[in-house]
């Protein structure tokens, strides 16, 4: 059974040791993020801050709700220790059969309602996430809901949202994003775009909003698929958008056409604050509905493993795998290790081919680049095992023929290694580490034999050793 909200989910996390309720009073101004950031850096639990300074009754903060694959497994109703590869398989299997949402007439997100001049974002303990950020961020693990005016496509996305004043938000809402595609249509006509933001939707809804589904696909259908039951939606108060009924807070309003405010700087998922403040679209909040004592979710993006690296990694990698398959690449698995700042994808392929690296690169870096570095390995390497991947780079990648760099791709400019000029021009330099054996090498004489336990010893001896492991004294 799916968790209907973060409250049920948190109970499950506490039971398995993957969540902790923090009763001590904590400051929303950096302290909650510092605690959560440290928890992420040491692989610790999600943190529910129940007492926040200045807000004795005004809300709570849930830090790092899905910053481990264990927590993702729990959210999906799988055993917490499910191997990463199995989580990927399950995600792929479930999202192949989308489940449409159901509409409900009432829901917890309508427990309290404020409109117009009574709207005040400062009534909630919106956290400051890093020292030196541009302000307080109400959206770091949430769901931005918009509808394309011509196609009716309902997009759920996750774009960071900074509070500007009591009823105004500036968001990092890029023109090439799915949000941007709908907003462009409104802006061309000089019209404001209706928008709703679900703060603290159930864990799978947030996961889905963070994941890169295809243009025109309604993320809510995939949330239903991952939950294995439909998401309950309810109509917003001031526009026709449908919002998750069990979310903690719903912000409703409009994105203003042809008007921008400075947003940022903000420390992002690769683990650095790379860019300065920049003019970004503006969301004017006209109504807020919320639960009593609502929970704001916070992903403390940084060097530690955060939700922003775990959540999108599965959908992103599976999307890359699907594209490679469509282009005839004999791909086995793709993984985007969060430990590498989500800027590296490891791709395993079934066979060596003189042009394999070029084929993979053409597919994954041919258009807009989302993951600028690729490591290509043979399928005897488990892409989910970083030690094996690192060993392959050290032992199989020829420094002269195995590495290829390119410049001037279109892509994310949050990449820390880019020069200021590359960032200004939105040009991304990419690199490919080809760790596959050359296609011309024969197994019989050229390809070195891997000295792992699995490869170097007879199978019956391996079995015997495993069966007697404790008897050896381990």
């Amino acid at each position: 059974m799916a968790y209907k909200d973060n409250r049920e989910y948190m109970e499950a996390l506490v039971k398995t040791g993957d969540g902790v309720r923090i009763q001590k009073e904590v400051d929303w101004d950096l302290e909650a993020a510092t605690v959560t950031g440290r928890s992420c850096e040491i692989g610790g639990p999600a943190c529910l801050f129940e007492h926040l300074k200045l807000y004795p009754e005004g809300g709570r903060i849930l830090g790092a709700p899905m910053a481990t694959y264990r927590r993702m497994a729990i959210a999906m109703g799988l055993p917490p220790d499910t191997p990463i590869g199995k989580i990927f398989d399950e995600y792929e299997k479930r999202t192949a059969k989308p489940i449409k949402p159901v509409q409900v007439k009432d829901g917890p997100c309508k427990e309290k309602k404020v409109f117009g001049d009574d709207v005040n974002l400062y009534d909630f303990p919106v956290p400051t996430v890093h020292g030196g950020d541009g302000g307080r961020y109400i959206g770091t693990w949430h769901c931005v809901i918009t509808r394309h005016p011509e196609t009716g496509w309902n997009n759920w996305g996750m774009y960071r949202l900074m509070v500007y004043n009591r009823n105004t938000i500036a968001g990092y809402l890029r023109p090439f994003s799915h949000f941007g595609m709908a907003f462009e249509q409104y802006e061309k006509k000089g019209l404001p775009m209706p928008v709703a933001v679900a703060i603290g939707p159930d864990p799978i809804c947030a996961l889905t909003a963070s994941s890169p589904f295809r243009i025109g696909e309604d993320e809510v259908d995939f949330a239903g698929a991952l939950r294995r039951e439909p998401v309950q939606l309810i109509k917003a108060e001031t526009n026709d958008l449908m919002v998750p009924a069990n979310a903690e807070i719903i912000l409703e309003g409009e994105v203003l056409p042809n008007f921008q405010l400075p947003e940022g700087p903000f420390g992002e998922f690769p683990g650095y604050r790379t860019q300065g403040a920049s003019p970004q679209p503006v969301f004017r909040v006209k109504a807020i509905t919320h639960r009593v004592n609502p929970i704001i979710c916070m992903s403390p993006e940084g060097v530690g493993i955060s939700d922003g690296k775990i959540g999108p990694s599965v959908g992103g990698a599976l999307g890359m795998k699907e594209r490679l398959k469509r282009h005839g690449v004999p791909v086995v698995n793709v993984f985007i290790p969060p430990e590498m700042g989500s800027l590296v994808a490891v791709v395993s392929v079934k066979e060596s081919d003189p042009a394999m690296a070029q084929k993979v690169t053409a597919v994954l870096h041919g258009r807009r680049v989302s993951v600028p570095k690729l490591i290509i390995v043979n399928d005897d390497i488990d892409v989910f095992n970083l030690a094996e991947v690192a060993h392959a780079i050290g032992t199989r990648m020829h420094p002269v023929t195995g590495f290829k760099a390119e410049t001037d791709h279109q892509g994310w400019t949050l990449v820390p290694y880019l020069s200021p000029e590359e960032r200004r021009n939105e040009k991304v330099a990419t690199g490919v580490f080809d760790c596959t054996w050359p296609a011309a090498w024969t197994k019989e004489s050229d390809i070195p034999v891997r000295m792992s336990v699995k490869n170097a010893y007879p199978e019956d001896l391996q079995k015997k050793v495993l069966e007697n492991w404790k008897e050896y004294g381990f």
């Binding site: 200045l54 302000g135 009591r166 042809n258 700087p265 300065g276």
Partner: protein, 87 residues
């Protein structure tokens, strides 16, 4: 009366006009529920301590959010409205 504190982001500190009126986006650093609230103001900024006797403390941060060294003061002349002009 205790001085108030404000925050502003200035990418190139050498381009910030000093000792004359400038339109600037500031954030309120007074501890309270409205900390980091944005204000668009006309103000005078100085980097000489005491030069604005009735001024307040200004914390300046640069492109990637690091503090600009120095001791900055600000005297707010007037509020300019809710938002800066459209970018």
């Amino acid at each position: 009366m205790a001085k108030k504190e404000y925050l502003a982001f200035v990418d190139r500190i050498e381009e910030l006009p000093l000792n004359k009126e400038v339109d600037i986006l500031i954030k309120d650093l007074a501890y309270g529920k409205m900390k980091y609230n944005s204000r668009w103001v006309k103000a005078v900024v100085s980097n000489v301590p005491g030069q604005l006797p009735d001024g307040d403390i200004l914390r300046l941060r640069g492109l990637v959010g690091l503090p600009h060294p120095g001791s900055w003061e600000i005297k707010i002349v007037k509020e300019l409205g809710e938002f800066p002009p459209a970018a």
